[in-house]
Symmetry: C2
Subunit: 411 residues, 2 copies
């Protein structure tokens, strides 16, 4: 009578489970990690830049002080470590966003910030307004809340507004937010100038929606002048951060290390209070010890580390742009990023980059991410994302030469 | 034309946002952290037990080795650190669950495991089968997916099944899983004996649903004989873990430290693969450096640490049970936990414990958690949760004496 039987069939899953897919990029990384392959696919920070000695010293110092160790190893507040929130508030103020630590939530990387945005704003069938291409991780985070996607084109305000307002094949979806990566975007490498940022804010005003400003690469500028965050532009006429429609997502992953998984949300106190409840229900708090280490790093090393990273990655970007100019066939077009880690290349000539990838890896020993993964509603089949963050300048030169040769043969 | 305006009204939030509430416990903790108050409210590990020296040594060793440091500080696989998954698989096998590291996902504490369970199984309006009282953090994690709750009574199989099958005020909800904390439950202190575990499995079989076995306190047994996990019972007739209907959630928070925020899911490979996708979309991966530290702690110190913790907390439990027997009024009833951190006390005599709490803090300098927070569908107003994990034996004795006096006056 009390025997138990195996599940008679597949367990009944949530509806959202049908939308869960492995990141094409992460799956690709497994295939292309072969010796001899020059990979432009990853887009992860160069470990040569990790401030290992300082990190080791901070862990040691914190764990040598009994009071600090007790705090570092205990449960802590969901909002995040007070000293780290203070530093971030100062960092945001230096970028033109008057705010206090009450406007800051610490997240487990900016990926978690995007997941929280979906949880707070999206019910199934709601619409999210995103660019095409857009950051793949954002699509993964949002899709758990089962939205539809509308395409944001900052050069076409009226077309974008029309797409949000008119019923379409999905029926009329309630548009909840616009998501933008304004600085050196992943994957496009594009930076929105101030006029484009103001157009995005104007669209958001027209639709009365929130703007999600995702800026993990903001500090990594290699040329040109900094442009104020949308959050700063939104309140520069004297409004308070608590009246802003912008939710800013930042990260320590690209400047210091992604290994401690720390980022932040800066937003109105009302929204931060709601995000804190989401943090509490999701994983209680980010590890206090890691937050204390990053607070010490940020307080002592931020500017120096940014300067090191800028010089390091600027050289790699220049190597890639030089090699592209030297080798690419005439039909190819590519972005000229002022920062970040990515160049977006459109092959032209009807090349299908997803079909090309296995040949590029096998025949030319070079890898990239096919473009279509970054398009929520289709497109991008002749494009690819090229990251210059990991290979050295010599590898970048020879890898781009090999890639150009493969493209020439495919055309 | 390009001026931007403040949000015209409150941003339109997801429907789930209306269910998000601050944990009563976390809010309470802010109020009762007053000098002189003896708190039975928290239920967090005693920092006196944190293996600080070993943790400091492991961080130092990992960050002194360039290859290990590069891995510790980089993005890593969503499944979790291979050495930690291996250790956990061995730990599960020692508890009667034959499995491999392919059956293990590392989570950011077991809170995140519960949140992932909700994401994988619950669409809005689905039902989750939970005990009353049940763990408050589980209700918070589940509620983001907007379920209804059905009450599981392991002593009443037919009544429980009837509640899951019959339409009620909510209409007919599709029951997706049963959630149980079989060992020294938070908040009840109750342990399910083998017969009760088999009844739960039988109900799950009847309903053809998954069982979520949450066992953060499993190692902290102070008396009686260990009872096999439901996951072991479910497959003991020779079935494979990949055919099990049980999802086991474990944690390092209570044995080592909650500060590194690490727990795990053990389940069929099919479900683990799905949970990995959820991890990827939620926060990519738990910090590699923390996983490597816990893997080294677990590999060298687990049994010693468990023995230390058992002796430490057994003394505190005994102090609380002795004090309750010595001081409580005749109408009060309380659980006799064989482990964990909690005693569940029913005051009797119509006492409203939520109304009593402010008086207990102000007049008697003693704090607890009112019972009704742990009842998803109402109830528990004359009950309270008492944790013995933080105060020392002397504080426990005097605190329980003061609490008994307040109860006597309230009756």
């Amino acid at each position: 009578m009390f025997d138990t039987a195996v599940l008679s069939r597949q367990p009944r899953l949530a509806r959202r489970a049908s939308r869960m897919q492995a990141s094409e990029i992460r799956e690709l990384l497994k295939v292309i990690e072969q010796p001899g392959v020059i990979s432009f696919a990853g887009g992860i920070p160069d470990p040569a830049l990790f401030p290992v000695d300082a990190i080791r010293r901070h862990y040691g110092d914190i764990l040598s002080d009994p009071a600090l160790a007790g705090r570092a190893l205990q449960y802590s507040v969901s909002e995040g470590d007070p000293s780290l929130r203070d530093w971030i508030a100062g960092h945001m103020r230096r970028q033109g966003v008057p705010c206090s630590s009450d406007n800051i939530l610490i997240t487990s990387g900016s990926q978690q910030a995007l997941e929280f945005v979906a949880k707070l704003f999206l019910s199934p069938g709601d619409a999210a307004l995103v660019t095409a291409p857009t950051y793949l991780g954002a699509l993964q985070a949002f899709s758990a809340s089962e939205p539809v996607y509308r395409i944001l084109d900052h050069a076409d305000v009226e077309g974008t507004l029309a797409r949000c307002r008119k019923p379409d094949a999905d029926g009329h979806a309630d548009c909840k937010f616009a998501y933008v990566v304004p600085d050196f975007a992943n994957p496009s490498g594009e930076t929105l100038d101030e006029a484009a940022r103001l157009r995005v804010l104007r669209m958001a005003e027209e639709l009365d929606i929130v703007v999600i400003e995702d800026s993990p690469y903001g500090a990594l500028r290699y040329g040109g002048d900094p442009i104020a965050p949308l959050q700063a532009l939104d309140i520069r006429d004297g409004r308070s951060i608590d009246e802003s429609r912008v939710v800013f997502c930042g990260s320590f992953s690209k400047v210091f290390t992604p290994g401690l998984r720390l980022g932040w949300i800066c937003a109105s106190r009302d929204l931060v209070r709601r995000f804190v409840l989401i943090k509490q229900a999701s994983d209680l708090n980010a590890p206090a010890i890691n937050q204390m280490v990053i607070a010490r790093l940020a307080g002592t090393l931020f500017d120096d580390q940014v300067a090191r990273a800028r010089e390091h990655y600027r050289n790699k970007r220049d190597a890639m742009l030089d090699a592209l100019a030297d080798h690419m066939p005439a039909a190819a077009r590519w972005s000229q990023p002022d920062g970040g880690m990515f160049v977006w290349l459109t092959a032209g000539s009807g090349v299908d980059t997803a079909a090309l990838l296995p040949r590029a890896v096998e025949e030319a020993g070079v890898a990239f991410v096919p473009g279509r993964a970054f398009f929520p509603n289709g497109g991008g089949s002749d494009a690819m994302r090229l990251s210059f963050s990991l290979p050295d300048a010599g590898q970048i030169g020879s890898g781009i030469a090999r890639l150009a040769e493969i493209l020439r043969r495919a055309a």
